[in-house]
Structures are given as structure tokens and as C-alpha cells.
């Protein structure tokens, strides 16, 4: 059931539109419901070959030898591919935007860093023959010690998972073992808070579990090019990754996709495109490489685990005065996209609330598990879970209704956010109010009258004097802040608490005009129906501070 509250923010909208806002049937609906839509795997080719990979049975091991002689002689086998056959057998996905160092082979050569890491690819006439030949590959291993816990992995002397990052952490700005967020002085605020509550939250990994598993069909065209039927979520992203790994000019690849059987972030990694195209190059035949369900479940990248430790200082009247979040993202054995998710998480701290003192430290940590990747809500879902459970605990601690507590602390237009940009276009308060009304959740008059449009800005727009530090210098683990010690809540939470009185709190200060948005690098969309269209600048050059900025200058040099 879905309904609209058109009365809210009505003066900010022009609803006089022809097609926008109408529940028109999708142009692809008939094809989907009649089973005629063609996905990547619906493209048939004469002489299609099938590719399967040999995967590591160990979480961490040195490879002593690889013997493929029996596999090469097996029935139906057309080609065996090893790491040395891959033109550039070391890559990192975000190298396309110059972020991070190449750290992951397409086929492992000297070492495996997670259970399921591909080592050898077999191309055969049928899937069954390829799978049979996989079993004939003899790999000899020296198993190595493993590390699976993110905080264990960060300890000095921990097993080195990925030699590109010998401290088991991604390196930010060539300087720190994590990304920092510093706004105000949390330590001083904790000292003045009525209560301090520190809690630890853990999100385990989850699967994307798309109906369609990852896969690619690649075939030689007649013009020295290769056509690639791909399920990629980023067509050119996958094309660029494949071209880089195979050392091809990008226009020798003709990628076709766009109709994908579910992604949720699980089809950003180009898990199958490079090997399928390499197979087509080496055999001169069309090659299909599709993950089976078990491979997808066990060895394709999941959403990674996250651990968030949140320490809050709160006043008796419900105002949160300080929030410190320490976050550990479990990247698994290789970076893929986790380094990006960590920065997105830092940008999201401290949640949709205006808190005058915020400290964040977020780590991208390498462990011996399947590399993690993006998933729906990347960088945000885990910290939102943690923040919102913490908010519930804080409300309970100070005896304020949870919705009132959200509205009291909610960010409003004109407030300064911890990443030092002014909030605008906010609507958290209204969402809470609408749901409260829907479920008959009693709200005080003050909470019902609150608005995202007023009460923000003014002193809430200020950037406070901020304490910075040099903790976590690369190569100096002794400077890393000690793992936050879990302290029990300020007082045991009373059970069977009587219903708290409707909180009395100071109404926010009178509305003051929001400060101008500083450095907001938005390019107005020039969407005509909006009441106050910004000047159209469709081809405006980037502001000078961004210049030719790529992630290299944002974070770290690629090597």
C-alpha cells in the first residue's frame, strides 16, 4: 500500500507534469513476464566453449607447484589458462579512477589468500568436461596461518594477508591506516556529558543472492574485435577493467548488457568478463563463463562484514553532545571496492543528526576471506543499523521517547554537518512525524510542530574548533588508537520502566536563514519544473579546486 503526502513541501514542487509522477508500465514488462527478455546467458553461439576455474581449498597458502598436464589431456579440453597467460595479472577495480594500488591477480600464481581464489581456468567443449578437468589439476600448497578478525588483523605482527598492503589496512592519503573525521572535540564533550554510552555492533556478511548468477559470454567478431555479453552493473567499468587486464585497446571490446537479473552490488567486480574474453582470444571460439549457484554463494564477493563501535555523550535533556565512531570494514583478501565504502561511511557519520562534536575513524582491513564488494546501501547500511540501535538505547537511557529523541537531534536545513558541508533539503523530521501519525505513536506538541525548514543554521551552522591528531601513521602501529574499550552503559538500563513523561526540552532557536552552501560542487540539473531553477551550466568547467582532480590526488598515488 502506498500513498502520498502531497501537502508536505507542496510549495517546493510544480506538480503540473504530463508523464512524471505517473505509474506508467515499464517498456520491458511484457518481455519479462512472458520470459522473452534476453539476458546475457540467452545468447547462443555455434561452437560455444565453457570455462570453469580451479579454486583454492585453503584460506591462505603458498602455491608450491601447479600441474595441469592431466587436465590438458582430458576429453573435450581446448585450453588451460594459468596466471602467466593473463597479460596484466594484477589489478584493482578502482584503478580506473586512480584509487588504490593493483593488488589482485585474475589467477593466483604464488599464493592464495582466500578459500575459493581462482588459480587455473579450464576451457572445454562442455561444462561437464570442464568441471571434470578441473578435478585433474594438481596444485601443491604450503598452508599458511590465517587471520579472520579485523581487529586481530590490525595488530602488530599479524599474518600478512595481501603483500601490497603489508599492515593489513588500506592506505589513505599515503599517510594513515584509516580515514579520519574530526569535528569539534569529543573528549572535552564526553567530560561534560551527563551520560556516556559506548557500544559495539557487528554486521555479518550477506550475499547478494541475485536470481541470475555472475557470468559472461565472449565471442570473436570478424573484425579483430570481441563481442561480450555481460551482466555488469557498470558496462564501461567492466569494459575498462577487462581492457586493462588483457592489455587491449578499449575499442576492441564490444560490450552488450543492460538487462540484468538482479545485481544489488554483486555485479560490479567483473568477476567473469576478463577470463571469458581471454578464453575467446586464446581459442578463437565463443566462451561462456558462468558461476554456478554454489560458486556464487561461496566464492563471489559478498557484502563485507562491518564492526562499528559507537561512543556517545548525551545530556539529560536528550541532546547528544558528542559521538565517536570507530569502524572496521572487512575487505577480505583484496581491496575491490571496500576502500571506497569506508570513505562513504565516514561521510555518513554521525547519521542524520546534528551533533556538535564528532570523531570518526574507519578502517578498510584485509583478512583471509572472500573479497567483499559493494552491496545495496554500501558504507551506510551497517553504520545505520549501529547508529539507530544506539539512538534507541540513548533514548531509553535518558528516558525520552525514541521518536521525540530523533526529532530533537535531527538535522535541519542550515545545520553544519560533520564533513563540513551545510545541510539543505532535509526531511527527516517530517518522515518521523508522518509515521507517528500513521501508527498513533504519541508525540508532544513540540515534536509535532518541529520542522526541517526552521530551527537550523545560526549557531548550528558553525564549524567548531577542532582537535586533530596524527594517530594511525602508516607503518607505525603503535600510533593507532587503542581498540576502544567497551564500557558498560552509564547505568544499568531499568527494565519495566514506567512510561517516561513527555520530554520537556528547549524548542530550537528561532529560524535563521541557512548559510550559503560553501563549496557545494553541485551542477544544477536545470530541471525546468522546479520553482527556482538554477542557472543552466551544462558544460561548466569543474571548479578549479577540482581541476583535473582524480582520486590519485584525493587519496593515494597508484603504483
Amino acid at each position: 500500500m502506498l500513498e502520498f503526502r502531497k501537502d508536505l513541501f507542496a510549495d517546493e514542487r510544480d506538480d503540473n507534469l504530463n508523464v512524471i509522477g505517473k505509474g506508467e508500465q515499464r517498456q520491458d514488462m511484457l518481455g519479462h513476464v512472458t520470459g522473452r527478455t534476453r539476458f546475457f546467458d540467452d545468447h547462443g553461439f555455434d561452437g560455444l566453449l565453457h570455462l570453469k576455474v580451479v579454486r583454492s581449498p585453503h584460506h591462505h597458502a603458498r602455491i608450491r607447484s601447479i600441474d595441469v598436464t592431466a587436465a590438458e589431456r582430458a576429453p573435450g579440453v581446448k585450453r588451460v589458462i594459468r596466471g602467466q597467460d593473463v597479460p596484466l595479472n594484477k589489478n584493482t577495480l578502482l584503478s580506473l579512477i586512480d584509487f588504490g594500488k593493483d593488488d589482485e591477480p585474475t589467477l593466483a600464481v604464488d599464493k592464495v589468500r582466500y578459500k575459493g581464489e581462482p588459480i587455473v581456468a579450464i576451457i572445454a567443449d562442455s561444462e561437464a568436461e570442464a568441471l571434470a578437468a578441473v578435478k585433474l589439476v594438481r596444485v601443491s600448497y604450503d598452508p599458511l596461518p590465517t587471520v579472520f578478525d579485523v581487529q586481530e588483523a590490525l595488530k602488530p605482527g599479524a599474518v600478512v594477508v595481501n603483500e601490497t598492503y603489508p599492515g593489513n589496512y588500506f592506505e589513505y592519503h599515503d599517510k594513515y591506516d584509516h580515514q579520519k573525521l574530526r569535528f569539534g572535540d569529543v573528549e572535552a564533550a564526553f567530560r561534560t556529558a551527563d551520560h556516556v554510552l559506548e557500544e559495539r555492533y557487528q554486521m555479518s556478511p550477506i550475499e547478494h543472492a541475485s536470481t541470475e548468477t555472475n557470468g559472461t559470454i565472449a565471442a570473436p567478431e570478424t573484425n579483430n574485435r570481441y563481442v561480450v555479453h555481460s551482466c555488469a552493473q557498470g558496462l564501461f567499468f567492466s569494459l575498462g577493467t577487462t581492457a586493462k587486464i588483457l592489455a587491449l585497446e578499449s575499442n576492441r571490446l564490444h560490450f552488450i548488457g543492460g538487462t540484468v537479473g538482479g545485481g544489488f552490488g554483486g555485479k560490479v567486480d567483473s568477476l567473469t568478463e576478463p577470463l571469458a574474453v581471454l578464453g575467446a582470444i586464446l581459442t578463437g571460439r565463443p566462451v561462456r563463463y558462468v558461476l554456478g549457484r554454489e560458486e556464487e554463494m561461496q566464492f563471489a564477493s559478498p557484502r563485507g562484514a562491518e564492526r562499528h563501535v559507537i561512543k556517545d555523550g548525551v545530556m539529560r535533556d536528550g541532546r547528544i553532545v558528542a559521538r565517536q565512531i570507530t569502524s572496521y570494514f572487512d575487505a577480505g583478501a583484496y581491496t575491490r571496492l571496500t576502500s571506497y565504502g569506508v570513505v562513504k561511511c565516514v561521510a555518513h557519520m554521525p547519521g542524520p543528526y546534528t551533533i556538535p562534536n564528532v570523531r570518526g575513524d574507519a578502517y578498510c582491513v584485509f583478512t583471509n576471506r572472500v573479497p567483499a564488494t559493494a552491496m545495496r546501501g554500501f558504507g551506510v547500511t551497517g553504520v545505520d543499523f549501529s547508529i539507530e540501535v544506539q539512538m534507541d538505547k540513548l533514548a531509553h537511557l535518558v528516558g525520552i521517547d525514541p521518536m521525540e529523541f530523533r526529532i530533537l537531534n535531527a538535522y535541519r536545513d542550515g545545520d553544519m554537518k560533520a564533513h563540513r558541508r551545510v545541510a539543505h533539503n532535509t526531511a527527516l523530521i517530517e518522515c518521523v512525524q508522518v509515521v507517528a501519525e500513521k501508527v498513533n505513536w504519541p508525540l508532544s506538541e513540540t515534536a509535532r510542530r518541529a520542522s526541517s525548514l526552521s530551527g537550523g543554521g545560526g549557531p548550528r551552522a558553525a564549524i567548531p574548533p577542532t582537535v586533530t591528531d596524527e594517530s594511525g601513521r602508516i607503518g607505525r602501529p603503535e600510533t593507532r588508537q587503542a581498540p576502544p574499550q567497551l564500557t558498560p552503559g552509564a547505568a544499568p538500563l531499568p527494565a519495566h520502566q514506567p512510561r517516561p513523561a513527555v520530554p520537556v526540552y528547549q524548542p530550537p532557536p528561532a529560524h535563521q536563514p541557512a548559510a550559503a552552501l560553501p563549496n557545494y560542487p553541485s551542477q544544477p540539473a536545470d530541471a525546468a519544473p522546479l520553482p527556482a531553477p538554477a542557472p543552466p551550466v551544462p558544460n561548466a568547467p569543474a571548479p578549479p579546486q577540482h581541476g583535473a582532480a582524480r582520486f590519485s590526488s584525493v587519496f593515494t598515488r597508484r603504483r
Binding site: 505509474g23 578478525d149 592519503h173 571506497y340 509515521v435 500513521k438 540539473a525
Partner: protein, 341 residues
């Protein structure tokens, strides 16, 4: 044994588009000689409706009926560059590129019509039904089809347009984390009503009630599809799913849909959704993007509702019956909290 009712809430916001920007999308729009339009993209339709939302944005901007627009996407030989469908960026980034391209094509269309009608193009409007007429004088009109034919065969004009949308890449300060992550945020609040069995640890979600602020719901049916599906995913994440049930122990991962637990049809709860629309100043027709965010409030709201029902906090996901029973044992039984409404 008792089943304890609980109610919990959470409120969230969500950033729209790739963090830090630097993620361009392009669009090309052109008409055939009959005034039927094709939008060429490289965006990916994952089932979320990328093609349809682009189609509606193009039709609205061009001022033509929706059935006169089709979207052709993700052929790298014909579609212009696009970063991809992730980070809730499709509607915002691609939609803006489509607007730019469609405006340029519309400009040529109106010029062609103006030449045929011998009027100034600035005085022309479209009726969204396939006609172009002089503002305030509906009788002085020409069809989109006739104008397109004239452009192609008489005037030698291409009715086409190019569009790109790029939010320039933001830097990140190493010491303070100062950055410009995104330009638009969507918002939500969600209440979960559930019950917890103190004998089996089973959680049954009975109802979800939510409000989502999405800028503008460009296609309400597709918004509903996202929000209903996303809430299911959030419920699944909160209570069922994980490949590593005893994380950080890496064992016991499911190998298929039998072993990897997810809610079945009998576990789905009714979801009462209200949509708020506060247009994003730089969104296409104000649109933001409901894609990713809709799962997020469900997780903490479920955890908070479980606390409300039995007085235990489970801070590790997923919240399995095993964890609930262990926590109840440690606490010495259920301690229901205050009921709200």
C-alpha cells in the same frame, strides 16, 4: 511460553549518487523521421526500472507521449559512456543527462516546427499528445510527426541532443575528513510491529509502516516496487541472512537457496508506505533515488522492536533465534518494555 509483541522504529537518511562525485553519465536522444524518439544510454536495468525512468524523463522533457519514446541501453558501440548502476546514482545522474539531451533535441524540434508554421520557436509549446502549437493559439499547430518529417526531408536538420551530467570529484581532507560526498539526500522513518516467541526465539514480523522522502516519485509504481522489495531485503538481513553465521568463523556458508536462509512467502509482512516529496534542487524533476536506502531502516527498527518485546539487545546481525534464546537465558527471561500505541 509466550509470544511478546514489540514495536520499534528507526529513522535514516541516504546519500544519492557515487560518494565524492566524479561519476559522469551521458545520454543521446534522436528522433526518427516520424518524430519517434530513441534514448541511447549505457545505464543498466537491474530490474529497478532504469529504462522506464529514463523514458519518462525523456518524454516529459521532450513534451511528447511516452509511447513515442524508447530507451536503448548498454551497447558500448552505440550507447555513450556511463559509470554504471550503483550507489543510487541511476535516476539522479542518468536522469539529468537525459534532460540535457532531450532539451537540445526539443529545441531542434521546435525550430523545425517554427519554420513550418512561420512563427518564432520561442512562442511554441507542446501538448504532450504529439502536437506543437503557438502558446495561447491551439489552432496554429503542427504535429511532432510533421515537424520531424519537415526537419529530415525539407530542412535538413537532425532532431537530436547530447547530454552529460557530472558532479566534479571532491577531495577528502586527510586530517578532518572534510569533503563534498553528495548533493542530495533521501530520508525515511520506519516502524516495525513484530512478536517474539520466548520459547523458540522465533520472530514474526507483523507489519511495517514507513514514510520515505524521495524528492519526487517519478514513477510511483516503480517506487512502490523498490520500497516493498527493499524492506523485504532489510527484514531478511535483520533476521535471516548470512554466509558466516558465526562470524568471524568463516565456516557454515550456505551453498544454495535451501541452505542460505531468507524469509519465505509466509514471512512477508504488510507494508504501509507514505511517500513525501521534497524535490532535490539538482535532481531530475527533483527526483532522488529510493534504490538502496529502503532496506536500511528495517534492520535497526527490527532490533529495536525485539528489545521492546522482550527487553534484550542483540547488536550483531542477523538476529537469529539462537541469539535471542541465549540473550533471554542470560537475562533470566523476557522483560517486555512499554507499549507504544
Amino acid at each position: 511460553m509466550a509470544r511478546h509483541q514489540g514495536r520499534g522504529m528507526a529513522s535514516i537518511n541516504y546519500p544519492i549518487g557515487m560518494n565524492l562525485g566524479g561519476d559522469p553519465s551521458q545520454a543521446l536522444v534522436h528522433a526518427n523521421p516520424d518524430g519517434k524518439f530513441t534514448v541511447a544510454l549505457s545505464a543498466i536495468d537491474l530490474g529497478q526500472g532504469m529504462k522506464q525512468v529514463s523514458r519518462q524523463i525523456a518524454a516529459e522533457t521532450l513534451g511528447v507521449p511516452i509511447e513515442d519514446v524508447y530507451v536503448d541501453t548498454a551497447d558500448s558501440d552505440t550507447g555513450p559512456h556511463d559509470m554504471g548502476s550503483f550507489a543510487s546514482r541511476g535516476t539522479h545522474r542518468v536522469g539529468n543527462a537525459v534532460i540535457v539531451a532531450a532539451k537540445e533535441a526539443r529545441g531542434v524540434l521546435l525550430e523545425a516546427a517554427a519554420e513550418e508554421l512561420e512563427v518564432n520557436a520561442d512562442d511554441l509549446v507542446t501538448d504532450g499528445k504529439g502536437n506543437i502549437h503557438v502558446r495561447g493559439a491551439a489552432s496554429k499547430s503542427i504535429t511532432v510527426k510533421a515537424a520531424s518529417q519537415a526537419a529530415q526531408f525539407k530542412q535538413g536538420k537532425t532532431i537530436s541532443g547530447r547530454g552529460i551530467f557530472l558532479i566534479p570529484l571532491s577531495t577528502v581532507h586527510p586530517e578532518t575528513g572534510e569533503m563534498s560526498p553528495v548533493t542530495a539526500y533521501a530520508h525515511a522513518c520506519l516502524v516495525v510491529d513484530l512478536e517474539v516467541c520466548d520459547e523458540t526465539g522465533d520472530v514474526k514480523v507483523n507489519k511495517l509502516t514507513s514514510a520515505y522522502e524521495l524528492g519526487r516519485a517519478l514513477n510511483p509504481k516503480m517506487v512502490e516496487q523498490q520500497l516493498v522489495g527493499g524492506a523485504w531485503m532489510g527484514m531478511s538481513h535483520a533476521l535471516y541472512e548470512t554466509p558466516e553465521p558465526y562470524y568471524p568463523n568463516p565456516e557454515h556458508g550456505g551453498r544454495d537457496y535451501n541452505e542460505y536462509l531468507m524469509p519465505g512467502p509466509g514471512d512477508i509482512a504488510p507494508h504501509d508506505i507514505t511517500v513525501l516529496e521534497r524535490p532535490a534542487p539538482d535532481g531530475p524533476f527533483g527526483g532522488k533515488g529510493p534504490g538502496e536506502m529502503c532496506a536500511n531502516p528495517v534492520l535497526p527498527a527490527v532490533a529495536n522492536a525485539i528489545f521492546n518485546a522482550i527487553g534484550v539487545r542483540i547488536d550483531t546481525l542477523p538476529i537469529t533465534p539462537e541469539k535471542i534464546l541465549r540473550a533471554l537465558k542470560a537475562q533470566g527471561g523476557a522483560r517486555p518494555q512499554i507499549r507504544r500505541a
